[in-house]
Every structure is written in C-alpha cells, then in structure tokens.
Symmetry: D4
Subunit: 245 residues, 8 copies
C-alpha cells in the first residue's frame, strides 16, 4: 500500500495505529531479513525494484518475489538461469520465464505504452541473448521494441538497408561484441541517443567483452553512451527512461 | 550551401554546371587535404561536426575552423590547450576561448533553447574542468545548464540539500573521480537519465580514472550510462541529444 | 603446553630432559611434515593459527585439525567447501560446519566477549556469503556481531533508517560488490573505523571484484581501509583486533 | 558556529531570524560556489573536512582555507606541491607548510592527545615522503607518533632490533614499496591492527605501487588492512580513528 | 661488397687473402662495437637493415649511418626526433629528414617501383603522423602510395566516396585511433589484404592505443592483420613485402 | 542467383516482377530473422560469408547452413565444437567435420588453386589445433598448404633444417604460444609476408596467449603482422587473400 | 645413437650409407610428424628434451615417449593430469607417475649425483604441488633435494629455526603464493642463488599468482631471480643447471 | 669493524666497554636516522649493502655513502641520475660515476676475481644502458665480463657467429626489449644458467617492458630465470652469486 492508502485506511478505522505505522514504513521498504525490498524506488525513480538473480539462492529469490507479488508490485528477475528458475517456489501461475534471456517477469498491472519506439540492434547473431535481455526489459516496462538483427559493420549494406528503421526509433540500443564498432557507425547515422552494449562475444583479445567496451567508450561518434558488458537489462532500462521523457 | 540552395541557384543560372556539381558535393563534405569536413553530419545527426583538437597541429585546426566559418557552420573545438589556441590564426574576432575547459566556440547562428534543463553535478571541486567541458558543450548546443558542485557521497547532506534541483532536471550529467560513486547515489534518487562521467581525479589505484569508470559501469543503480574518462564533451553532447527529444 | 608448563613439569620430574626440550620446541611450533603448526602465534598476535583450507588436501587438513585439537587450540578452517569438509576425518564431534560461509569451527575454550559490537553491513543480498564469513569469524573470536543487510547506495533511505545502529558499533565491516560504493557513504556517516570488503558480485566490468576493490581503495571518505576481494575472514579478524583494543 | 551557538545567539537577540537561519545552514555546510565546505563532518565522523589539494587551483584552495579559518576550523591541505603552496594567498601567518610531505597545517585549536602511540614504520629510506604524510597527519589530529625507519625484510635483524618498539604501539602504519612484504612480517609479530600503505617506490614490475598493493592485499598475515598507493594521509587518518577508540 | 665481388677482386689480385676474408665476413655483418650492422639481411629478407632510432644515442646512430653509407646501403632511420636529428654528425648532404614522421632517409640506389599501388588510409586528421610513417616507409622501398585521409566511420559517406580508390589498391594500410573501427569497415569492402595500424590517438579508455589495438585484433571482418600501436613503419614495410609479391 | 541471372530470367519471362525484385534483394543478402546472410560479400571481398559458430545455437547454425546450401554457396563454420556439430540438422551428406580444428566445410563448387604455396609453421606440438584451423581454412579456399611442425626457437637446428621449405612459400602463417618468438626468427629468414598467430598455449604469465600476442606485436623482425589469439581462421583467410594477389 | 656411434657402425659395415645418413640426422632430431624430437639438446644444453604435456593429446604423448624410450633417452613428462596419464599407451613398465605433481618419469640411465644440495622451500602447505614439481624435477636430473615446508613470513620463527639448513644448500628454490614475500626474506639470509617460484595460491587480488610474481620480481633482496607462475619444473631445472656448475 | 676486531680491540684496551658495545652493534647495522645501514649483510649474503638511489635525496645518499666509506665498506649506488650525482657532497676523490648506467662505485678494497667469466649479451644497441648496469655491477663485485652486443633474433647469423663465446661463459646475462626472444634462443644453445633481463625498449604493445618480461617468463627454453624490467643491477648481482659458487 502507498502511504496515502495507509493514511486513508487508518482514518477510516480499517487499520490500528500500529498497523498504520508498520504499513507506512513498509511503503518505503520491507525488511525480510536477508533483503530489504525497496518499495519507495518506483516513486523516486519511476520504476520499481528489479531483482538481480545472480548469487542469490533460489530460496532468497522466492522470498523476494513472494513479497513483491503480495504487495502487487511488478516482478522482473534478471540473471536467472534455468536451474535456479526450476528451483523457485511459490511463483504466480502467470509468471513468464524467458529462457533466451534468463529473465522472469510478472505483472500486477500493465504499464502504459509510450507512442515512440525503442530499437534494439545487434551486430551479429551471437549477440542475441544480450539483445533479448534489453528488448524484453524495455517491453516489461511497456515500450514498443523494434529488433534489427545481424547488421554488423563488415557488411555495411545490411545496415544501410535498415537506415529508415534506425532513424524512426526514439532511442537505440546497439549491441555488439568483438571490436564493438557498430555503435560508432550507427551514432554517425542518427540524431537520437544511442545506448551501446558491449557483449562478451569473441575470444582471445576480445577479453570477454573488454575490447568492445573500450571501443564503445572511445567511439569517434558523439551521442553514444555505454553500459556494462552484457548488460542488456541496463540498456533496456535506460531506453525506457529516455523513451518516457 | 545546402543541396537545395545549390539547385535553386543553378536553376536561376547563378551557378554553372561545374559549380553546381562541386557545390552539391561540398554540401556533403569538403575535402581540404588533411581533413574532410563533414557538412552532412548536421542533417544526419542533428549536430554539426565538432573538432577534436588533440594531436592536430595549430595549422590544421586553423584550416578547419576557417572552412567551417566560411560555410557558416558553428564551431566547437575541444581539447585545445592554451598554447595551441595561441598559435591559431585567422579566428573570427568573436570566437570565445574557454580556458577552464580547453574549448573554443563560435556561432554562425545561435541554436534554439529547449525549455527543459540539463544538470551538471560534480562530486568534488577537483572535477571542475571536466564538468565545465560538459556544461559549456551543452550550452554551445543551446541548452540551459544548472551546475551543482561538490556534492560527493562522503557528505550526503550536501547532496540531499539539492534534491529538488536534481529532480527538476530533464537529464543529469554526473561527474566524479576517485571511486565514482556519485552516479549510483543520484541514479537512485531521480527518474531521469543519468550520464556518468568518470574523471581522472585521484592517484594510485584510481589509475587515471579507471576506478571511477569501472564503478560507474557496474553501478547498482539503473538508468545510468557512461562515457569515456574525462569526456565532458561527450556527456554534454549526449545530454543535448536527450534534452532535445 | 606453554613453555612455562613444560618447565614446571620438567622441574617436577614429570618430563625427561628430551621430553622437555621437544615440548618447548613444540610450544613454538609443531612440524608435522607437510605443515608447521604455529603455536606461538597466539602469544605474538593475540590469535591462534587459522587454517586456510584452499589447495590443501582433506588429508592434510585432517592432520592439522587433529594436531590443533590435541594441543587444545581453537580451530577455524576457512575456504572449506562442502565436498572437502565431507572428506575430513577425525573431526571432534562438536565441530561446527557453516556451509553458508565454508567455515569449520571448534573451540577448546570459549574466548571472552568484548562489551562493544562489530557491525557487518552488506550492500546487497548477493554479498551474503562473504558477509557471513566475516561475521562468523568475528564471533569465533568472541565478538558480538550486528548484521545489517541489503542497504546499498541506490536506496539511501534503507541505509539512513539504520543510521543509529551504524553509529552504535565500535568497528564496521562493510561488504559490497559491483561499484563498491557503500563504504564511502558509511565512512562519511560514522566516526569509527570502517573495514571495507569488496566482493566478486557483479559481471563484466566488475572483473570479479576489481571494480569494487578499486572503488574502496580510492574512497573519498577517510577512515576506510580495505582487505582482499571476498576476504570476509580478514575483515572479521581485523574487526576483532580493533574491537579488543 | 555550531547549531547550539546559533540558537543561543538568536535567543539572546544577537542574530536576526535570517542570520540565524543562514547560520544554522552554514553549521552544516557552506556553499562557496566551486566548493561546499562540510562543517557537519566533524560531528558525524569525529574529524573536520580535509582539503585534497590535487587538481584544485591555488585560488580555489585559498578560498577554502580562508573559509575554514574564518569558521575557526583546523586546516589540513594534502597533495599541495611547493609551487601551488607558493601561489596561495591569505594564509594565516602561523600556517605551517611541510615540504617533505606536501602538507599544509593550521590549528584553530589543538586537539587533545591520546595516551597511546601510533607507530609509522618504513621498509626503506625511499618510502620517506609517504611515511611523513602519514606521521604528520596523525600528529595533526593530536597523536603521538613513533617513527621506525628502514627496517625492510631483506635485513630482518634491523626489524627484530625494534621488536619492543613495534609491540608498544596501539596501531601501526607500515609503509613499503617494491614487493611490499613488510606488513606481512610485522603483522605476524604484533597483536595490534596494522594499516599497510603501498608506495610507488620501485620500477618496472613494481608498476607504480601495484606490486606492493597486491602484496599487501594478499598478505598471509591476518590483522592487516590496506589503503591506496602512496596514501599516507589515509593511513594516518585511520590510525587516529583507531587510536581514539 | 657482396661475397661475389670480394671473390672476384681476390682472384684479380686486388685484395690480399686477409682483406678477402674480412670482406667476406663484412658482407654478412659488420661489428662496430656497440652495433652489429646486418648486411646479409637484404639477401635474406629482401630489404636492408633499418635503424630504430629510439634509445640509441646520436653518436651511435651517426656511426651506424656512416657505416651504411660507406657500404652503399640505403638508409632509413625511424623514431628520430628533431633534437636527435640535429645532433647527428657526418650525414650525407642529400639525406632527407621527414619531421612530420621522425624519419631520416638516404638512398645509395633507388629501388625499382612496383606497378601496383599501396593505399594509406586514415580515420582522422589526428592519425596523420603515424600514417606518414607508413607512407614514407613504403615510398622509401619504391612503392607508389595513395593517401586517403580522414574517412572515419562516424561519417560513412566520406569513406564510400572513395570506394573506387580503395578497391584500386593492391594492399591497404588502414590507420585509426580511438575505437579503431575503420579496418573492420574497409575489410568488408575490399578483396585485398588490409594492414591495420592502431594509433595512440584518444584519451581515457583509449589507453594510448590499446582500445584501437584490441578492436583491430577482434575485427569482425576477415582479411585484416595488425601491427603494433603507432607502428607506421611496420605497416609500410609489410605493405612493401606484399606489394612486391 | 546473381543479379545478372535474375535480370535475364525476368527478361525471359521466367520471373514475375515481384519475384525479380525479391531475387535481386536476396542476391545482396537474405534476412532469415535471427541472421542476415550476406551474399554480396563474395563480390566485394572475394570470399563468401563464413559462419562463426560460437554463441550461436545449433538451430541457428542449421538455418544458416541450409540457406547457404540452398543458394549454392560454399560453407565454412568455425568454432563448432563436437557437441554442437552433433546437434546440427539437415547438413548435406558430404559436409565434412574436422574435429581437430572444430570446423565444418562443404563445397558447392571447388575453388581454383593458386600455383604458389602457403606454409603453416608451428612452434610446438601443443599449437596443433590452431594451426590446423589455419591450414584447413586456407585449403577450404583452394590453397596448397605445407605444414612445418614443432620447430620452436629453443631448438634452432630443427628450424634451420627446414629453411629451404620456409623460403619456398609465398606467404607464411607462423603459430606459437608461450613467448611467441618464432615469427621474429622466421621473419628474419624470409622475404615473404609472415602472418603471426599467438596461441593460448602456456600457463601463468602466458595469460592465455597475451604473452605471445605482445611478443608478436613487438617483434624486432619486420614483415610480420598479427591476428587475434588462437585465430587460425583469420590467418588462413589472410594467407589466402595474399596468395591470390 | 650418437653421431660417433653411427660413424663407427658405418665404418664397420653394420650400416648402409642410407642407414648411416638417416641415423646421423636422427642423432640431431627425429621428425615423427606432429613432433620433432630434439636429440641434440642434451649435447647443447646438458639436459635432454622434456615433454610439456599440456595441450598434447594422449596419443601424441605416447608417440613421443615411445620414441624417447626407443632412443634410450630419459623421459620427463610435465603437466600430465591423471586422466591423460591413464590414457597413455605403451609406457615402459617401470615408468613412474607422480600424481602429486602431475609428472611422469623414466630413466634409461641414472644421472650422476652432485655432492651439493638443492633446497626446495615453501611458504605454505598449499604450495605443495608446485614445490613437488620442482623437487621431483631436480631429483630426476640427479640432485639431492632438501624439502623445507611451511615456513612463511607470518611466522618468522619457523623460518629462523631452519636457518642452518637454508645456508647449507648450494641453490634454493623458494615457492610461495599470495604476496610471495618469502624469497625476499630468504634472499636476505643466504649467500647462494635463490630461484623464486610464484604460485597461483590465493584468491581475489592474488590474481592467480600475479601478486606473488610481481612481488618476487620487485624483491628488495638481491640474488633472487624468478620463473613463471606455478613453474616448479623450470625452477627445478634451473636449480640443476646451477648445482652442476 | 667486524665483531672480531672489536673484541680484540676491547681486550687490548683500545676500546672502552661502551665503545665496544656500540661497535658490536654497529658491526650489525648503523642507524643514522633516515636509514639503517646494514653491515651484517656481507656476512649473511656474501655482498655488502648496495644503495638504491631512486627516491632518496642527495643529502640522504651523501650521508649513507659517507657512513659506508667511514666503515671501509665498498660503495655501489644505483639509479643515480647525473643531476643527483652532481648534488652529492663529500664523495671520496676516487669514486667513479658511470653516466652510461647511472652508477657510482668506490672500493675500500678490491674483491678477488673468479676464474670464470660472466657474459652480458644484448639483443640490440638500444638495450645498452641496462646491459652496462649489469656488466658494471658484475665487475664491481670482481667478475670478468664479456660483452656481446646487438645479436638479436632477427639476424640469427650474428648470434651464431658468437656461439663459442656464449658457450665459454659460466653464467649469461641476456638483455632484450621488445618481444624479448633472445633468452629463449640462447637458452637453447648453452648448458649454463641464463639470467634474462627484459628492458623497456619498444613502444605501444611493448608496454614499457611488459611484453619482454612476459616473453621471458614463458620462455620455451629451460634454464632461464628472470629479473625485473631494466634491472641490470639485479642480473649482475645474481651473475656474481652464481659465478662465485
């Protein structure tokens, strides 16, 4: 319950003073021992808490999801591999697991959908999983997403063939591994913000995404900013933030 | 001249066929030997070519600026240290050199000003030069900029005292060296996009900005994307791109 | 036996000269071939030898523990994964294995408990295992430990809600992965020493804890010192050392 | 003025309401444009704001020092090289510049002196400057400091000759470059906390202090924590924090 | 003199046995104390010895050049900064110093010129010096060089305007700093070998050319191989080797 | 079908206008959803598209191969481990899997064979797999390959015994791990281009091929250029490009 | 057979000319396809070829060992894990597998034993495997080895108790992980050469042995040189080389 | 004075008890405030204390040298640049400054000279300074040194021409920058210990000597150990230690 709801319920005698006090506190965060679920985040940042699934136990994640569901908050769990997903308990029946991106989503209420579009562009087929994490995250928050796949710089005509699509989007997430050159080329072709996502695709001197990361940070194109290696979630979130301006 | 103007002039007989052909080509770019000035960039990306002053000779920069001025394009030269600035020749009389940020600016025509504001926030006084590069770049492109200085995370109350200001901005550039924690904290307090700029402030394990860069890339806050170390220009440019959406 | 005990026993005729000589030597250390158990360490440093379980075989660890138990020394084995623990032989019946932190403990005699408290603070739920290594280590040496979980900087109100608790502790262990910003923020809020523990939580540019490590080393807050990545044990030990001053 | 003093003065009619309001705000921090001086820090952390001189202009530092002096706060400026010191204006006549450590100090009131002692230990003569930064910082905050110089591990008898001195101190700052082994050895000889300071002394694979830093972080001795490379100030500050417990 | 010449002269009685023996040895190399000039290299590798000027004293370089001139070998000195060049003694009157690339050249006999062309392509004006080192090296060995400047990937139309030129060359040297993406794009447009040269142009995460180096090594285009950062000489040499096949 | 074939068929009434339009587009690339197969690449670069098998699913690879086969294009899949190969479906019966190099090959039409030879040279037996990737790639494109194995620099006489063979080749691929010195030695013995391939053979300071990579990039021999660590494919491709000049 | 033996057998008519020619060649090396076994190495370097087992297949190793045995050369295979050892075929019945160090040894003839001793010293029990690789290698070449275990610098008295032993050895191999400080301390106590071996023992900032490696390279003690991380073999070999002087 | 001399002088009445006590202490070390000169080192390690000149002030070095001279100990100061040398005071008239290697030497008594020889071998003329540091250090300790210059691996015949010289030496110091391959080749040609010294010669991916260092550590030749980058002193010292066995 939001603070306002607690106050109204207290005034209406539906809650005791103790219940109201605890409810107000919980409207900010709910301390469940191993985790403090942040219910104020949506008010502050426009988007509710997201659960980073890595290094949390299935039991801890199940607790958090249950708490979110009980509080009617939308649920997004990232970095949830299939084994851990299978070990979760008490999930809502209509929660959806996206194995291609290791995401779990569930909506208490659907978000509204902005009129403009987010483009998610990949340099190669091997960048698929990271790109899907970005696209599904943007969709989770209500955005329309246009996927433009496999248009890396070694075959420019494939990219140029999609130029109109690129220029249609209000914000572009550009996903690339290896040398990570695609955001530089795209950044030189559009007037909208480009969120570059380096991926760990490649071997040897790709250093698990470092080559792509450095390439994107030092891009000769302006209007490009960068998120962490393989951080499709972060890019999708940022795209939502910008698309909602 | 833009392509349309060339065509009209040709039709009107003011240009020969050869002059029209050359003029059309130049409306895309002008090859002056050491440099190919990109006059199509503004159409593609919404912002004209910017001159990266590092590693170019004073003579080369003077040539490029003269070409831009002759073509009535706005001029922004970055990374122009005072010695090289002093060696430039043929600058317009009303060109402005911003020594605090190593920038040169000149406007053929003033850009329009968006209604919303860009905030440029610094963690400490030592981040001043990079922050000014960001702020002056955003202003060069016509934005209103609010500067919020020295609100690093070791003294949270200084930051919280400016919370209303932070939440007013449409996009925030957050500049920090050392551990670069400020964007994480700001990102948790606002609903607008945060452009994080790591600076090379610090010593030892700061590794000339690497600590701050890694910190910002791995931020636990969402809605944060990152530009290169000390890249105030890139952040200011990105802020303009977003602010104009 | 301590040197004094050996000397008394020798004087009393309970030990031969050879036995006394060997006993005195063993009071300093006991050479069991693959390992030299350091019994003098407690006298020098105030805390007995601790067994680093990594890269030792189960057989070697079993030998060392047996030697410690026979000499009535307290036993702490770190970095002991469940498989290796299962392979140990001859453990005392009341030895305790803490699977959540890969620790084995056994006490010959309980240490005294200082009046003041050690706080163990985590930025996120994913830092749990490292934090438990710290907390259990501090408890092994007799300290009272207050656990404050999941108060990372992206949700400051969760941290500020525990401010009184933070200021109560005599020494604080602050555990964080990703950008590792929490010790900087905590260090700006308390007057007591902060031991920062970077964790390997995160991916990509987190570089298995390097981002957090560098962030903590370059903290803009004073009164923060740092231990190795994931070194909960070292932080717990240091906290004990300081808490006993 | 502290909040209490402002309130009393207001009650006594010595201040108008506006003066009192501004005064209360300034008791927390004073915003002088480029810098926000944090006057609440001493209350929170037990030690007032310290000025990091690097990357600040002489003019900015002069402003900050003048503000501190006007508010009767003690002054410590670190990383102040002789040229910048010479360019400062308006310093109090009795400010002291310590060229051997690039520090400026001035006291509005002398701090009290704890009964126990801080030891500052160096591995070699080349570590002198960093060690002095630590020692002078500790002395600035009122501590008695014992300097033990040039007792590196390649000549153990020099170290063992000072063993009694080492064991006398309540907290030890151990400064070493190159392989940085001294804290490991000292840590195995004392029961008090050791603050290890890696220095950039060395060449080649010393990598400006990285070798020493890694060595100290991975020390086989317990009870050692580490600060940034060449961060004598941080070690001296931490030593003061611990010595005052 | 080549071995054959020595033998003929000996047979003709123009040389004594000792003179012939020494001459034969010198036809392989000439030991002048600090340096062993390799006169056999041209026979083995098709190109005579080149003098790496860095870290050699002016006196050493003068000795080596004098030896080469006396033996009628062509002279190429690289990494010769203007100060060191000014300090050389005994240079042939017609030696040429190329200040824009820190090269000194002198020809005993002009090499023949292959029919095909080497292209030297730069991403930006800031890459000029490295590109000239490559171009002048290729020209030193007799090649025709086509320079294509400032066609970086953020303005693709500049590059595509030169497509015919690019496809004309038999081998392409592509020089780029920052993210180093140009070789990937060029490699996708031509069927000839591309030698990629990363430059140290850029700052921050460019890491003095590392970003460009990694980008080129991990290029998604095939037919690209890489030389050291700023190694224009190596690229020009390799281009000559390939152009002469 | 090539564009010319489509046009002829359309003129002959064998294709409708829609079929012709689609056919022309497909002659450039074929968008199959997850992947855009680049059929124009062969015309541009002289070699058809190669499939990088890593991080693509067996289903995606099967789709791409089927598309290539249907279009009568030769097939080369790299980085295809045995498990993924076993999971492919619909392969042509005469496709060949080379388990020693994780390659799959199939030819629609055999390429012509240049008269000259590519040498593939290894420093040690442990470099075998990478060398085979290079040799089989060069053979896939029609080249004759001479393998020279296990001639590392610690036993020079083994290398010198093959000197004539080395000097026979028109281009040399030199594969080495550990310190990667072999290309430097070979480069000093031949007049043909050397493509150096660092391998990840070695441990500790070999850093998975970094030591060899750096060694090859900084080779004191000229005429050496470098591809990514373990990139046998890239070296074989480059050798083909050069051998066909 | 050595060259001399072949010549004698040829003179005696026991070998044909072809057999003699092939035999002489084989006395230098034997090319078995994937590998060129270097039989001249023993003459050149005093020690026969050693087989690096990593990245070679069991079949390749079996071939090489068979060749060595057939030529009556001693056999040492390093980095041979138990699975690969189990897969070898045709081993001599008296070949010995040392699972504790992943070594296989077999002697055609026992080497002579120098009068002086090699010491192998470890910092901790976790360094055991690497130390055994060194000790067994030295023993393979005929040396007497004294093992001194678990005398790391955090318990100096354990080391000092073995001072006489340390000073007895003619060459010392000192093995340590973590901060790798032991060679510095030992180097300051003995007048004989110290071969330092960093191990990958440790975690976090130990970076798989990098911390120890850098520590040893920058040791403040003289008379210390270093081999690769975990390179017990190299240290044992070097110790043999020195011990035989 | 050595302890024995003090005792004799005391017995002879030439010293008082206090003088004898102080003298005995000084025979171990002499504490001169900023430095503790280690006079026992020669007894322990066979070689007296050497002064590392870097980061010590001229005044500190002058003090140490004066103390050594007064105690009739030989003097070697390393890393003493010409400016600092010029600022030293009170040097013995016959002290020798070796500007080519930044060394100062003075002998109280000449060391004896071993019968065998140390070879110092360089890959290129640019390695001269480091090699001289090694050669002069070895000569300082009394060794005969053979210098073999400029025999890098790109011109093998230059190296092979000196093979007899190489095999004559009892220990070899091999100095190389860039890829650092020379020790591997030399190590495969001799049976004596090779001390490899990486130099910071090179640029770009040489990373100030890192490429050479890694190359030497991962050498495929056995019997090679390594010292720090540019550490000619350490190599010369180690060579002396081995040559005196």
């Amino acid at each position: 319950m939001a603070v306002e709801d607690v106050l109204q319920a207290f005034k209406a005698g539906e809650l005791t003073l103790d219940e109201a006090t605890a409810g107000i506190r919980r409207s900010y965060f709910d301390d469940i021992g191993h985790t403090v679920v942040d219910y104020d985040r949506k008010r502050r940042t426009g988007a509710g808490e997201v659960v980073f699934g890595s290094r949390k136990s299935a039991s801890q994640i199940s607790d958090i999801v249950a708490n979110l569901v009980a509080n009617e908050a939308n649920v997004l769990v990232t970095r949830l591999d299939p084994e851990k997903h299978a070990a979760l308990t008490g999930l809502p029946a209509d929660a959806v697991y996206h194995a291609e991106a290791n995401l779990l989503t569930w909506h208490a209420q659907k978000p509204d959908t902005p009129a403009t579009t987010v483009a998610v562009v990949t340099a190669g087929t091997s960048d698929y999983q990271v790109a899907e994490e970005a696209a599904l995250t943007a969709e989770f928050f209500g955005n329309k997403v246009m996927r433009i796949n496999d248009v890396g710089v070694a075959g420019l005509h494939r990219l140029l063939a999609r130029l109109d699509d690129l220029q249609t989007a209000r914000v572009l997430v550009v996903v690339a591994g290896m040398e990570g050159a695609l955001p530089s080329v795209v950044g030189g072709l559009v007037s909208k913000p480009v969120i570059a996502v380096p991926t760990s695709v490649g071997y040897g001197a790709a250093f698990d995404g470092v080559a792509a990361l450095l390439g994107m940070l030092t891009s000769c194109a302006s209007g490009v900013s960068v998120v962490n290696i393989d951080n499709g979630f972060g890019a999708g979130f940022m795209a939502n933030t910008i698309n909602r301006l």
